[in-house]
């Protein structure tokens, strides 16, 4: 693999892994809270999250760019056309996915499980950790979906990152640029690397996930 490709690949992975970790740190507790709460407005909140899952990434990119633009409300932070700005955009893309899948995953657990765990003496932290263990298979799917969405999106990366060579160019924006220049050979090379990366990450997570399924064990 040539140095520029490796550099772009590394940048892609760093941005998307960072964004996935941050999105997980927000989405997992938020999704858990939404799954467990009985407060009014829960349904509306879940609908908002689910809508967030369907927002086009370029629209997210546009909103983030408007915020981070030099004359925008967060312009002073100087994050437009930076990797950190791209991370922010990808966090906004992955968080609704992880939150939504977490709500769904915990919703699939037996309805009486939280009370049963409380009755067994679990405090709040022990209860939540145990629910995550019980729902670990669909929660891994949430991680896969979050990372997959972040690394494969091109709209937000272009708008917020600007596809600056050696600075903010990532795999997807590099492909778009190569195609627009008619350099299909280079675009295919990036695409192959991106596909291989997606495969390796998902194969690893799937192997962890399937090891946990009942039918695979027995």
């Amino acid at each position: 693999m040539s140095d520029p490709v490796l550099e772009v690949l590394t940048r892609s992975v760093v941005v998307s892994v960072t964004a996935t970790i941050v999105a997980l740190a927000i989405g997992l507790p938020l999704g858990t809270w939404l799954a467990l709460t009985r407060r009014p407005g829960r349904r509306l909140a879940v609908t908002v999250v689910n809508t967030g899952m369907a927002v086009p990434t370029v629209v997210v990119g546009l909103l983030v760019a408007l915020l981070l633009w030099r004359s925008g409300p967060l312009g002073g932070l100087d994050l437009i056309y930076t990797l950190r700005g791209m991370v922010i955009a990808q966090v906004l893309i992955a968080t609704p996915l992880i939150t939504g899948i977490t709500v769904g995953a915990l919703g699939l657990l037996p309805p009486g499980l939280p009370d049963q765990l409380r009755a067994l003496g679990a405090n709040r932290r022990q209860l939540v950790l145990r629910l995550w263990v019980e729902a670990r298979l669909p929660l891994l799917a949430a991680v896969m979906a979050g990372f997959g969405h972040a690394i494969s999106e091109v709209g937000a990366a272009t708008v917020v990152g600007g596809n600056i060579h050696g600075q903010t160019q990532v795999m997807t924006t590099a492909i778009v640029e190569d195609v627009s220049r008619g350099d299909f050979r280079s675009a295919m090379a990036y695409a192959a690397v991106l596909l291989a990366l997606a495969f390796v990450v998902n194969a690893t997570l799937t192997s962890v996930q399937q090891r946990g399924t009942a039918w695979a064990r027995s």
Partner: protein, 343 residues
């Protein structure tokens, strides 16, 4: 020592409807209280409130005189164990399931395994320790569930029809295990059931719950012999429950038959309850007359005879008796020792 429970003015609403209304109920430490009631009577709600996983809409439940608060809730729950109808085992091995409540209570790892194995041993499933929970049969899983409840040596053990989903043999075995495990009376046990034979199996006292209200509470044999009303009598397993009348002379009349019994009640209408075994079939015109046999079926070790006449009745006859055929006319004699009379 087992937790002393006291409920005062406990009222619980669900969807705006009152599902439980217990004015007063006390359970001394170490007692086994059976709560008997039909489906939908509020039994599970009562156990959820006692397990402190839900708070009553009104009223107070005290544990050893102390009321739960948000500060002591987890500590309180850790003195209690709840065994639900469905085993609800978590992923992992049986032993891991039993260890979990200990881990949550901060018991060191080295001690956990030994205590979990001892608890599994107590309910005769130590050999299942390394089996994955999802590979266990219903009966095995429920035993592991019971071990998981007993492992913490709870002061209060709440059993919500733990044998409901088991076959009759496994049901009897499970109750024997609970009986043995709590025989020392250091644990207060509240056992909820809609089957009278199971409720009585583990009961110093019985509380009969109907439509969210405690209709009667007392020593098991008292409630059995002297049910408070027709509903309680049916729940206590009386096959024949009918209206009777106490005359001015104090004698009980049932459907026109003068029984010769004097139940010691003031004159007026009453409820008469008797078991199917309390009826003897005799020659026509020798007892309670003009009763027509409608149906004869064989029950376990006995004939069950449905009778039509002034009132519909069920009689059990020993297997060696010649059962009457449908259409036969017979007379009945009532064994006064097996008759309960309530207001």
């Amino acid at each position: 020592m087992g937790t002393v429970l006291s409920l005062r003015g406990v009222r619980h609403r669900r969807g705006g409807r009152v599902v439980l209304d217990v004015a007063e109920l006390s359970v001394p430490g170490g007692e086994r209280l059976a709560v008997l009631g039909p489906n939908g009577a509020g039994k599970t709600t009562l156990l959820r409130l006692l397990a402190a996983v839900e708070s009553p809409s009104e009223g107070l439940i005290r544990y050893d005189g102390a009321a739960p608060s948000s500060q002591n809730l987890v500590a309180l729950r850790r003195r209690i164990a709840l065994v639900t109808q469905q085993p609800g085992l978590l992923s992992g091995t049986a032993a891991r399931n039993v260890e979990l409540p200990l881990a949550w209570r901060g018991v060191p790892r080295s001690e956990r395994r030994a205590r979990a194995l001892a608890a599994l041993e107590r309910v005769a499933v130590a050999h299942l320790a390394q089996r994955r929970a999802h590979t266990l049969s219903g009966g095995e899983a429920q035993r592991v569930n019971l071990a998981r409840a007993l492992v913490t040596e709870p002061e209060l053990l709440l059993l919500d029809e733990p044998s409901a989903s088991l076959d009759p043999e496994a049901r009897a075995d499970l109750l024997t295990d609970v009986d043995r495990a709590t025989a020392d009376r250091v644990t207060t046990v509240v056992h909820v059931s809609h089957r009278v034979e199971e409720a009585l199996r583990l009961a110093d006292r019985v509380a009969v719950l109907v439509d969210g209200h405690v209709r009667q509470v007392g020593p098991a044999t008292d409630v059995l012999r002297h049910p408070a009303d027709a509903r309680v009598a049916r729940l206590m397993g009386y096959d024949n429950v009918l209206g009777g009348m106490v005359g001015g002379d104090g004698e009980l009349t049932v459907a026109g038959l003068e029984t010769g019994m004097r139940p010691g009640l003031p004159s007026g209408p009453c409820t008469v309850a008797f078991w199917a075994t309390g009826l003897d079939l005799t020659e026509p015109a020798d007892g309670w007359p003009h009763v027509v046999v409608e149906r004869v079926t064989a029950g376990p070790g006995r004939w069950e005879v449905a009778l039509g006449g002034p009132v519909r009745l069920v009689a059990h006859l020993p297997m060696d008796a010649v059962p009457p055929a449908p259409g036969d006319r017979v007379s009945l004699r009532l064994d006064p020792r097996l008759v309960a009379v309530a207001r």
